[in-house]
Symmetry: C2
Subunit: 343 residues, 2 copies
DNA sequence: CTGAAAGCGCTTACAG
DNA sequence: CTGAAAGCGCTTACAG
């Protein structure tokens, strides 16, 4: 590995001068600058990341903590983050907490969960990353960020009440409102909802958006609501209870998986989605377009959430003094396919 | 940030001694060892990663280069890698090449592609990772690994002819053979196949496995073969050509997406998969269980491929002198659902 | 515009 | 069993 010293010797200048050139200091004559730069190029010299990091305590890397990589939302967010980092020459170091595989679906009620997060933050401080992005597996208020954190951190896909910490989420409430409004405009007046778990923040926000739409459109409040488990099976069960004797013409499922369960039920009854009864999903997962008929659903802007998170953290890193922590909300889209009929 | 020096002062011993304790050297008295360890614990001291890396040129981190994070196979492999790293206290630094978003589906015919890979390797050498895992987006012979590479590298999901480089793949051929055998044992004699693109290595290996099964079971060679494009639409088109007038009782699709296209076609014709005609997929993507009836398919052991890749690279790192580069193949499983009927 | 020197926080022979 | 000292490859005041 070629070092600064060797470059300096080859050019008969001091190490300082080479370093200055490398760091774009202006106090170097054009002549020596060109000479040194050409030698750097031909030797293929690259600054030693460790040495630079040790001395300047600036590593151009940020740590990404992920609740669980296998969560459907993780990949898109990370992809967005990394595309932004690429453009700005930052490196990403990944810490996958693997919560689902470790503790199943209930990890965020687990005390060990908070320890893991703190440990990961700790680890990243030791590695001297310039900042941290915490990519949550689902929206919630994150309260386990240590008080003595002396490194920028932004939260992606969740939020915190801790002052000074920015977060980037999507506008869950508005998207649910938009989807409900679409249903209403298509003539539906009795719209059932299959929500997620009751205390979940996504559930609450979507319910709020749903009610807002009903109100805006002059319909009375919801009578047909079931909380379910986010999975296919629970969607099926909820549909069975909800659709057996109600007069609903549409069901709004708070994720695509549960919509899949509704399809199962409808199928069993010989009913066809989008014709006999309309169904809307949420998430726009890949499977939603393979349902028959293809599911109309809400698209979560994962990539954009990632981009924004990256933008915010780099902002905070390079411009720490006048950084203002905010809660950002990225807008969602509605994907219209064939599961919503007009009446 | 508390340093080695501070710990040493607090304990009235030398820096060397503290360092020796930290690194598990045996030449320290139990008494001072315990004292130092307790101080380390109570101060929450963590060795500076940069300083250690600079001095020892050992960073306990490995670089992961990924063709494209959004490829369906990437997440599972990375999850496996990281679980293994976790257990062995290694860090992962991610470099996502983002080939699909940059160059669409034909990136591996692009010259820029090789440059990107080399650049990523270069970058990782500068960062001083202990090793590199290259997670490919699909199987192929990777020929752009630089000759002067002086760092362990293993290839995941693809292979190379370059000596000294290990690779971890799945047994594509055998899985295709197994699936075909299952079809035959269920009574099918005329089994069409919708393959991927013709020159693709997955296509070739699966075709080989398919033919092997026919031969083993005493059936004559395939007459009903169409190459397609891996996507749903191309599966649909292939089904249309293939199933219109042939007497096939089953179709083996070389991925689940194309099987989805076959379902589309069958549906249109009022035919039901698994009853009128059997269909088998490959990949076990999430959408495959939402197809109706649920698709029988081949499961690719992504997680295990990741684990094995991690194991191999750590092996090579810690045991470089008697490391033997090999081509590893992890076995697949068959997921039986409802799309294959017996006759 | 240029360079000598200190120092970032460790590890590693080496001497005792 | 313990410690003084050199050095990893840089950056950064500082002096000229």
């Amino acid at each position: 590995m070629v070092t600064l010293k060797e470059i300096a010797e080859k050019c008969s200048v001091s190490i300082t001068t080479v370093s200055n050139i490398l760091n774009g200091k202006s106090n170097v004559s054009l002549k020596t600058k060109e000479r040194v730069l050409s030698v750097i190029k031909e030797t293929g010299y690259r600054p030693n990341y460790m040495a630079r990091g040790l001395r300047a305590s600036k590593t151009n890397s940020v740590g990404i903590i992920i609740d669980d990589l296998t969560e459907f939302s993780s990949t898109g967010i990370i992809d967005g983050i990394m595309s932004y980092f690429d453009e700005n020459h930052y490196k990403a170091i990944l810490e996958n907490l693997r919560f689902y595989s470790k503790w199943g679906n209930k990890w965020y009620h687990n005390k060990d969960y908070e320890d893991s997060v703190q440990q990961a933050i700790d680890e990243f401080e030791a590695i001297k990353v310039d900042g941290i992005i915490y990519v949550a597996g689902h929206a919630r208020c994150i309260s386990c960020i240590p008080d003595n954190l002396n490194i920028p951190l932004v939260i992606s896909y969740a939020f915190t009440e801790k002052p000074g910490i920015a977060s980037v989420e999507f506008d869950d409430m508005q998207a649910a409102c938009d989807m409900t409004t679409k249903l209403i405009k298509d003539g539906h007046k009795k719209i059932a909802v299959i929500a997620g778990t009751k205390t979940n923040i996504h559930t609450q926000r979507r319910l709020e958006g749903y009610k807002k739409a009903l109100k805006e459109q002059g319909l009375e409040d919801c009578k047909y609501l079931r909380y379910a488990n986010w999975d296919r099976e629970s969607g099926y069960e909820a549909a069975k209870e909800l659709l057996a004797d109600s007069k609903c013409t549409a069901v709004f499922c708070f994720n695509d998986l549960m919509a899949g369960g509704v399809y199962d039920y409808l199928n069993e009854k010989g009913l066809v989605p989008g014709k006999d009864i309309s169904v809307a999903g949420y998430d726009n997962r890949t499977m939603s377009q393979y349902l028959k008929p293809a599911l109309s659903t809400v698209e979560i802007p994962l990539y954009d959430i990632g981009r924004k998170s990256a933008e915010v953290i780099l902002n905070q890193i390079t411009n720490a003094e006048n950084f203002k922590a905010q809660q950002y909300f990225v807008q969602c889209g509605i994907i219209e396919r064939e599961s919503i009929g007009k009446i």
